[in-house]
């Protein structure tokens, strides 16, 4: 049973560019959450998608946007990249009922130069 798959694993971008990160959830999961983890810190909630809709958003600017597809996979888009966007981006999948916690992917390491 495949877990959560994220691509790419590493990415280097220049300030001002745009980036798209991808996530395939664990089989049977219908909800995808995205987190940003800066070096030495805990994951920070960006947003969560369910039934192809963003249903809650964290304290991140509109430069961060996402999408969920009918097969439950998801994308995270970041526009106008800043140096401070450099971080590990984690995708977590879960069932709608929350009690089971998340299954995380290994993340995408984004470096903005």
């Amino acid at each position: 049973d495949a877990g959560v798959t994220q691509s790419p694993t590493h990415l280097i971008k220049t300030r001002g560019q745009q980036v798209t990160l991808r996530c395939s959830p664990k089989s049977g999961h219908d909800t995808v959450s995205w987190y940003q983890q800066a070096l030495g810190q805990g994951p920070q909630f960006i947003f969560q998608y369910y039934e192809e809709e963003e249903r809650q958003r964290g304290n991140f600017p509109d430069r961060f946007s996402g999408h969920q597809f009918p097969n439950y996979s998801s994308e995270l888009n970041v526009n106008a990249l800043l140096l401070g966007d450099s971080a590990l981006y984690l995708c977590a999948s879960s069932l709608r009922n929350r009690e089971n916690g998340y299954t995380f992917g290994s993340g995408t390491r984004l470096t903005v130069v």
């Binding site: 959450s33 987190y35 030495g40 805990g42 969560q48 929350r98 916690g101 299954t103 995380f104």
Partner: protein
């Protein structure tokens, strides 16, 4: 405000010694509580969860945690650690809404 606070940023311990990693939460995140572990260059893995009922919950790899409502704590314990337990540990809480918030993490370093 919703918050999860991990009281120690680093915990060094000798192999086979007991360990406790401390976590306090604000009352607004007490509906569901979790501990996750993160090994280098990997995502987070669920260790255990508290939903309701018994305040002592057991998880994988010999870890357990105790929910204490009066102290607003959810400390993680293991009676005897191994070198392989060296990792970053995160306490997390969910209010019953859609967002799970995480503490800043505690780095457990097990020495031979």
């Amino acid at each position: 405000a919703q918050s999860v606070t991990q009281l120690d940023s680093q915990v060094p311990v000798f192999e086979e010694a007991p360990v406790e990693l401390r976590c306090n939460y604000s009352s607004s995140v007490s509906v569901y509580l979790f501990w996750y572990v993160q090994y280098p260059n990997q995502g987070l893995q669920l260790l255990l969860k508290y939903l309701s009922g018994s305040t002592l919950v057991k998880g994988i790899n010999g870890f357990e945690a105790e929910f204490n409502k009066s102290q607003t704590s959810f400390h993680l314990r293991k009676p005897s650690v191994h070198i392989s337990d060296t990792a970053e540990y995160f306490c997390a809480g969910n209010t019953g809404g859609f967002k799970t918030i995480f503490g800043a993490g505690t780095r457990l370093f097990v020495k031979a």
